[in-house]
C-alpha cells in the first residue's frame, strides 16, 4: 500500500477494502469509526498543545517579550509540562454546585469542537465527514459549545461564572448570525453547501480572489464574527479576567479547566480551518489565471506542494491573524459588542449577499 501524499483516496479505500475483506459490513464501520476517532483524538491533543505554545510565543513577541524558553529547546515542551501539572491538580467543587451539570459542561464544550474537526477536508481524500450540508453541520455542532459554556456558568453556583456565561450566550446568539450570513456569500458563489464541492469549485482560484469585493467583505466579517464565536479577544467578555475572575470557568480546576482551555484553542483551529476551506480553498494549491504568461509553469510548481501542507499553511496563517487581533485590540464592552454586530456587521452582510447574488447572476465574478 503506497502512500500518495497528493491524493489519499487510494490509501483510505485500501484500508476500507482490507477491513471489509475480513469483517462484516457493520464491524467494518465500527472499526473504521474507532480508527478515525483515535486519530482525531491524537490530532486534537497535539494541535491543542501546539497552539497554546504558539499563542504564548506570538503574544510574547508582540509584547516585546521572549515567551517560554526554559522547558526544552526554545520552550517547546512548556505546554506539555503545564498539562502534566494540570493533570495532577485537585478537582475542586463549589458548595451547592449542580454536580452533574458541572461535570458534564467541559465534555460538551470539548465534544462540540471535536465534532466540527471531523468535517474538515485536510487533504484530497482525507475528509472524514462529507455531508451535502457540511456548512450547516459545522455551524450546528460549533453552536453546541455555547450550551456547555452556559451549563458551566449556571452549575458553578458563582455569580462571576453566571455573568460570564450569559455574556457568552448573548455574544454567540448575535455573532452566529453574521458567521452564517458571511458563509452564505460563498454558498451563493459555489452553489453548494457540501464542503468537498466548495473545495472543488476553487480549483481554478480561491473564492477570496475569484469573488473579489463581496468575498473580501464576507471574509473580513467571517473573521470578526468567528473570533467572537470562539470567545477570544477582543471579544473575550465571557472570560474578562479584569472583571469576572475567569468568567464561566472560574470554579473549574485541574483537568476540567484544561478541557475548557484546550477546547478554546481547538475552536480557534476549527474556525481557522473552516475559513481556510471556504474562502481559501482548503488543500487546493494557489493557482493564477491562464491569461498571465508562464502561468502553467507557476501552477505546476504550486501543484508540487502537497495538499495537507497547503491546508495547514492556510489554517496557520488564519490562526496567526486571530492571535494578532487578540493581542492588538482592547476588549469591547458588552454594548459595543452588540452595536458592532447589529448595527454594522449584519446590515453590511445583508447588502453584501444581495450584491453577491447580483454578481453571480450577471457572471461578474471570475
Amino acid at each position: 500500500m503506497a502512500i500518495d501524499i497528493y491524493d489519499f483516496t487510494g490509501m483510505t479505500s485500501a484500508i476500507h477494502e482490507s477491513l471489509s475483506a475480513v469483517l462484516s459490513p457493520a464491524a467494518t464501520t465500527i472499526v473504521e469509526m474507532t480508527i478515525i476517532g483515535i486519530v482525531f483524538i491524537l490530532f486534537y491533543a497535539l494541535v491543542g498543545l501546539f497552539l497554546v505554545y504558539a499563542e504564548r510565543k506570538v503574544c510574547a513577541f508582540i509584547q516585546c517579550r521572549l515567551g517560554p524558553r526554559r522547558v526544552g529547546p526554545r520552550g517547546i515542551f512548556q505546554t506539555i509540562a503545564d498539562f502534566i501539572k494540570l493533570l495532577m491538580k485537585e478537582l475542586l467543587m463549589t458548595k451547592n454546585a449542580d454536580k452533574f451539570l458541572f461535570n458534564l459542561a467541559p465534555f460538551i464544550v470539548i465534544i462540540a469542537s471535536f465534532m466540527a474537526i471531523g468535517a474538515m477536508p485536510f487533504a484530497k481524500g482525507l475528509h472524514a465527514l462529507d455531508f451535502d450540508i457540511g456548512i450547516l453541520y459545522v455551524l450546528a455542532v460549533s453552536g453546541i459549545g455555547v450550551i456547555g459554556i452556559l451549563l458551566a456558568g449556571w452549575s458553578s453556583n458563582n455569580k462571576y461564572s453566571l455573568i460570564g456565561a450569559l455574556r457568552s450566550g448573548a455574544q454567540i446568539v448575535s455573532y452566529e448570525l453574521s458567521v452564517g450570513m458571511a458563509l452564505m456569500t460563498i454558498i451563493i458563489f459555489a452553489g453548494s453547501m457540501q464542503l468537498s464541492e466548495i473545495v472543488a469549485s476553487q480549483a481554478n482560484g480561491w473564492w477570496l480572489f475569484k469573488g473579489h469585493i463581496p468575498a473580501i467583505i464576507a471574509f473580513v466579517i467571517f473573521m470578526i464574527a468567528s473570533t467572537a464565536e470562539t470567545n477570544r479577544g477582543p471579544f473575550d467578555l465571557a472570560e474578562a479576567e479584569s472583571e469576572l475572575v475567569a468568567g464561566f470557568h472560574t470554579e473549574y480546576s485541574g483537568i476540567k479547566f484544561a478541557f475548557f482551555f484546550l477546547a478554546e484553542y481547538m475552536n480557534m483551529f476549527v474556525v481557522a480551518a473552516f475559513g481556510a476551506t471556504v474562502f481559501l480553498g482548503a488543500w487546493m494549491p494557489f493557482h493564477i489565471s491562464e491569461m498571465i504568461p508562464y502561468a502553467e509553469y507557476f501552477n505546476m510548481g504550486m501543484d508540487f506542494i502537497p495538499g495537507f501542507i497547503w491546508f495547514f499553511g492556510k489554517t496557520g496563517m488564519l490562526i496567526l491573524l486571530m492571535m494578532w487581533f487578540k493581542w492588538t485590540f482592547p476588549r469591547l464592552r458588552i454594548d459595543q459588542l452588540l452595536t458592532l454586530e447589529w448595527k454594522y456587521l449584519l446590515p453590511i452582510n445583508l447588502v453584501n449577499i444581495v450584491i453577491t447574488a447580483f454578481f453571480v447572476l450577471t457572471g461578474f465574478h471570475f
Binding site: 506570538v58 513577541f61 516585546c64 517579550r65 521572549l66 494578532w324 487581533f325 493581542w327 492588538t328 485590540f329
Partner: protein
Amino acid sequence: MKEIIQYFSDVFHAVKSLLTGMRVTGYYFFHHKEIVTQEYPENRATLKMFERFKGEVLMPHTESNEHKCTGCGICEMNCPNGSIEILTTFETVDGKKKKIIDKHIYHLSMCTFCGLCVKTCPSDALAFGNDFEHAVFDRQSLTKVLNKPGSTLNKEVKE
C-alpha cells in the same frame, strides 16, 4: 443622507485605526531586536543595570577616603521606615567642638528604596548603587555601615 455618510465614514475610520494598531504590533512581531526581556541568571556576566536603577544606598568615597557626610541627620529624619541611623561623635578642631559622623548605619532589610535620603541630603553624600543581588543567609549582614573606616570629611563640603 448625512447620517449615511456618517455611518460609512465611521466604518472607514474604525477599520483604519484598527489597521494602524495591527501595524504597530505586527512590527514588534517581526522585529525581535525590540525585545526588552533580560534572561537574568544566564546573562549575569554581561548584565548592565540602568543608570536610574535603585539597588542600594551608598556613600561614595574619593580615592583619598573622603566622603561628604557631615552627620547632620537629615536623611535619618526623612527616612519613612527608619532604615538609617546616624551615630555622631565630637572632635575638637582649633579649640572648637565640631560634630562629625561616626557611623552611618543603613538597614538594607528595611529600605523601600524611596530615595528620600538621597534627595534630601544637603551635601550630596548619598547615592544609589546598581547592585541588586542582596540575598544572604544571615540578616545581620544586611545592616551596613556606609562610611568606610578611617574616612574623613571632604574639605570642600561647607557645613
